[in-house]
Amino acid sequence: MPQATASQSQEQANAAEQAGALVRVREVHKVYTRGSERIDVLQGVDLDVPRGDYVALMGPSGSGKTTLLNLLAGLDRPSGGSVQVGDDRIDKMSEGELARWRSHHVGFVFQLYNLLPTLTAERNVELPLLLTSLSASDRKRHVAAALKIVGLDDRGRHYPRQLSGGQEQRVAIARAIVGDPTLLLCDEPTGDLDRKSEEEILDLLTALNRDHGKTIVMVTHNPHAAQRARRIVYLNKGQLQSESIQ
């Protein structure tokens, strides 16, 4: 696996931009304050993710991976710098605009699946579609298609408690892709799974990237999972340290 230096990384970013990067992160800072303590979680991060890319964000705990992912998802705002996805400067958006933007452009997969326990798999997957103008029958059709992609078309009526961890995560992925988002963001998607389920989820993400052209950014601690990505970006102490291409 070839390792890239910081300057190579810049070259990569430039190349990505020329190729029309979907995600452009420039000089992003994120500062948290805890009492009088100031914590610089991200310190001038630059990152480009071309359309159709599959990027793994790695780094030790507290390196800022999840913070960066949250910024890409429009769940948090940078303290400085810019975050652009497609033509949208999401760091400039209001709360309402961000919510609308997320509903159109982002599919998010959590480590702990975060399915709503009171809803069936179908209803969970349908959630993002409730924000669209699709009719009930169209929503049903989309949900069925998403569940079929993740291989759970026969589990639609099951509640989360009736599914295994791997199945729950697949439902979560179906929920993330059902609205055909621009960007699929995964926060430790295999972090809570056994080895077999982990493989299934990684296979699924690979297929979504390879066969469906989904642009994926995945935060992971797991080198094995990261190797499935096309690129691995290493963060340390809030800075982009290195980048490797598979």
């Binding site: 769940l75 709360e95 998010f108 975060n114």
Partner: protein, 384 residues
């Protein structure tokens, strides 16, 4: 509508808690509906009082009689259009528990004053021609299964007949209905002549007068003029509007409306705390889920609306069941077996109940909804 399954699913999350919350709201609205009917029953006389009717009683007390001769003099007062009189009988039908109003009246004069008593012409004619005849309201006829032609004996507690008997027999010649649901259909009316000619004392005396006036806005002046007519006589009078007269009656029992309002205020305050706490707890328990919804793209406004819908739905289910149950129980009729003969849920109570349902839902849901709306996704997910 497409969000309804989501709201409904949240209500089913902790079924036992939801059921208990629903039951507490149900009980509150059951009380609201039922006590509303009680309050209405106490105040019905005031509500149905004619605006153009005055009531003239003895100045000292309503139980003191007035001379029948006053009738002609009252009729002469300018502004007075019709006058009738009534006398309380106070008889017992079979059992002292069977209480209902029995009054000796001049049929023609009385029915003119009370056109809301609807009686078929043939029955009215039969009554006019039958000295011992009587008519009663539909409520009484149904309650005691009386039909036209029945002989109804009443044992008088006050009026002894000249033959020494206390038992007065009447023939039921007619049954009247009310023009509206609030019309008093619990009266038993018979000829004053029968009473006056048969009783041993107080002949030529009546209980009170009912007076119709041409212009209700002149009621105080006309009342003063009438009372002035009998000033310094043996039987001074006190004339008031029928509404004031009925209010006086109702006040003798106590301010039922205020008592009921106090009870309901306490009940609703407690329910507000119970349901409000339930909603707060419900929101606290699913901070992560709300954060997930926001991640998916649900706006703050939508989250606020969904939580409010949830609390309004709980209030609506509990409230509608409570009001429905109250209506069902009210359908069994007067719980006092006679003291509240006109016992029904007034439409205003149902409308007010519906308004309270929505207000309760909004009041209990507002704070949790605002909390849910203000949730920061990143912090909430981290907490989860």
């Amino acid at each position: 509508m497409k969000f309804l399954p989501l709201v409904w699913a949240n209500l089913r999350r902790k079924r036992v808690r939801t059921v208990f919350t629903l039951l507490s709201i149900l009980v509150a609205f059951l009380l609201f509906g039922y006590l509303g009917a009680v309050s209405n029953a106490f105040n019905i006389g005031v509500q149905i009082a004619g605006v153009d009717r005055l009531v003239l009683t003895h100045k000292v007390s309503i139980i003191l009689p007035l001379p029948l001769s006053y009738l002609d003099r009252i009729e002469q007062v300018p502004g007075v259009t019709e006058v009738a009189h009534a006398s309380w009988f106070g008889g017992i039908y079979q059992d002292p528990k069977n209480f209902f109003a029995q009054m000796a009246v001049d049929p023609e004069l009385y029915l003119k004053l009370y056109p809301e008593f609807l009686i078929p012409e043939a029955q009215k004619k039969a009554w006019m021609e039958d000295r011992t005849g009587a008519i009663c309201g539909r409520y009484l006829a149904d309650k005691y299964h009386w039909k036209i032609g029945d002989r109804i004996p009443l044992v008088a507690s006050v009026w002894q007949k000249k033959d020494g008997s206390n038992t007065w027999e009447f023939t039921l010649d007619g049954i009247y209905d009310g023009a509206t649901t609030s019309t008093d259909v619990t009266q038993f009316l018979f000829h004053y002549k029968y009473l006056d000619e048969s009783r041993v004392r107080r002949n030529g005396m009546v209980g009170w007068y009912i007076i119709r006036i041409a212009h209700p806005d002149q009621a105080p002046q006309i009342a003063d003029k009438i009372d002035a007519l009998f000033a310094n006589s043996d039987n001074e009078t006190k004339t008031s509007t029928e509404k004031a007269f009925m209010q006086g009656f109702a006040k003798q029992v106590g301010n039922i409306g205020a008592i009921i309002t106090s009870i309901l205020s306490v009940v609703f305050f407690v329910i507000l705390l119970v349901a409000g706490n339930t909603m707060m707890q419900s929101v606290r328990e699913r901070v992560t889920e709300l954060a997930v919804l926001k991640t998916v793209g649900f706006s703050n406004g939508l989250i606020l609306t969904l939580v409010l819908c949830e609390s309004v739905m709980i209030a609506a289910i509990g409230g509608i069941l409570g009001l429905g149950l109250a209506r069902f129980l009210i359908g069994f009729g007067d719980p006092t077996r006679g003291a509240l003969p006109i016992f029904y849920m007034p439409p205003e109570s149902a409308i007010l109940g519906a308004v309270f349902v929505v207000l309760l839902g909004l009041a209990t849901g507002t704070i949790p909804a605002i909390q849910a709306m203000r949730l920061q996704v990143v912090q909430s997910l981290r907490r989860g």
